[in-house]
């Protein structure tokens, strides 16, 4: 599985380390909330709301340089909008992958 990385953050920060730290802190704060919202809506079968959560999470996925995972998130969001839960396991693996990575930062 591809690994999260800071290549996007490093490339867009212009070498501003304080900004990089700030952005990582924001992601560490926001990601667990968005993940929790997703699981809540998904488990409650509120697939449209869950699609909204995936939409928001996929930006974090892209910020963390996960290109293939991003494609899975895009497809999963579209599935959820149609009431289809295909790719849920793949998507949730991505969430676990990011959770583990953020713990190390």
């Amino acid at each position: 599985m591809e690994q999260p990385n800071l290549s996007y953050i490093n490339s867009m920060s212009g070498g501003d380390e304080r900004f990089e730290e700030k952005l990582i802190m924001i992601i560490k704060d926001e990601f667990p909330i968005e993940k929790k919202d997703y699981y809540h809506n998904y488990k409650s079968n509120n697939f449209k709301l869950a699609a909204g959560n995936v939409h928001k999470l996929k930006h974090k996925i892209s910020i963390l340089g996960l290109e293939k995972s991003y494609e899975i998130a895009v497809a999963f969001e579209n599935n959820l909008l149609k009431g289809n839960t295909n790719l849920s396991q793949e998507f949730e693996s991505i969430l676990i992958n990011i959770t583990n990575y953020l713990k190390k930062l």
Binding site: M12, G14, D16, F19, I26, D29
Partner: protein, 239 residues
């Protein structure tokens, strides 16, 4: 350019704000996690540019644009490129940035926005009178359906910008004219009229009362921008 950022994601707001900080001519005045808060702010402040996320819960970016009577220039930001075609139906849209935003792409959007804001300011300050003709004494002539209609200036109590048109409200009648607020502002006597908001010019003599951020004129409650309030207060005969 004064700008605001509207995005429900703090990470997005931080990234856009960081990009803006590398441009000398851009100042981020406020950031909002939702569009409702931004509407309240825009009723009281003049802004050149908005960075607007389309996909927000409850009230999305397109809903937001539709509520604005006289929108400033807008750069849309989203993770979903599918909205692009719908977005460009609005004249105020300058560009469309797909997240994650690359610095070079952001820079291009700023160049576009800069050009359009400058052009718009230039048009506003041009001496062209278009459909607002010369003043003769207390009268103002406006061109409506190829007829020059005379309006008694002191009878005007309110002028409101409505997209490419302005609505002139008088004691007896309302007129809709294809023109800008700036053009009519230049034609109205400054001792009688004051622009209190980017969309409104009022006749000071017609004020009924004033609250914190609004004035009552006839039955119209008109917002007063924070930046215009000191001038309004200066012009009043306060006890």
């Amino acid at each position: 350019m004064n700008c605001i950022i509207i995005d429900d994601e703090a990470a997005s707001r931080a990234i856009i704000s960081h990009f803006c900080s590398s441009f000398n001519n851009i100042s981020v005045i406020e950031e909002f996690p939702n569009a409702i808060q931004a509407i309240k702010f825009l009723n009281q402040n003049e802004i050149d540019l908005i960075f607007l996320d389309i996909h927000m819960p409850d009230f999305n970016g397109i809903d937001f644009i539709q509520t604005l009577k006289n929108p400033p220039k807008i750069v849309l930001t989203t993770s979903d490129a599918n909205f692009a075609i719908q977005a460009f139906e609005y004249d105020c849209i300058v560009d469309y940035l797909v997240k994650p935003i690359a610095p070079e792409r952001f820079s291009k959007a700023i160049t576009k926005a800069n050009n359009l804001v400058s052009k718009s300011n230039l048009e506003d300050t041009s001496s062209s009178t278009e459909n607002i003709e010369t003043i003769s004494g207390n009268d103002l002539y406006v061109n409506i359906d190829r007829r020059l209609i005379k309006i008694d200036i002191p009878s005007i109590y309110l002028v409101e910008a409505k997209g490419d048109y302005i609505q002139i409200k008088t004691e007896n009648k309302n007129y809709t004219v294809h023109s800008t607020l700036k053009k009519i502002e230049d034609k109205l006597p400054i001792d009688l009229f004051l622009k209190v908001h980017r969309s409104f010019i009022i006749n000071i003599k017609k004020i009924i009362d004033i609250e914190d951020n609004s004035v009552l004129i006839k039955k119209d409650v008109i917002p007063v921008s924070r930046s215009n309030r000191p001038e309004l207060m200066k012009r009043l005969n306060l006890l």
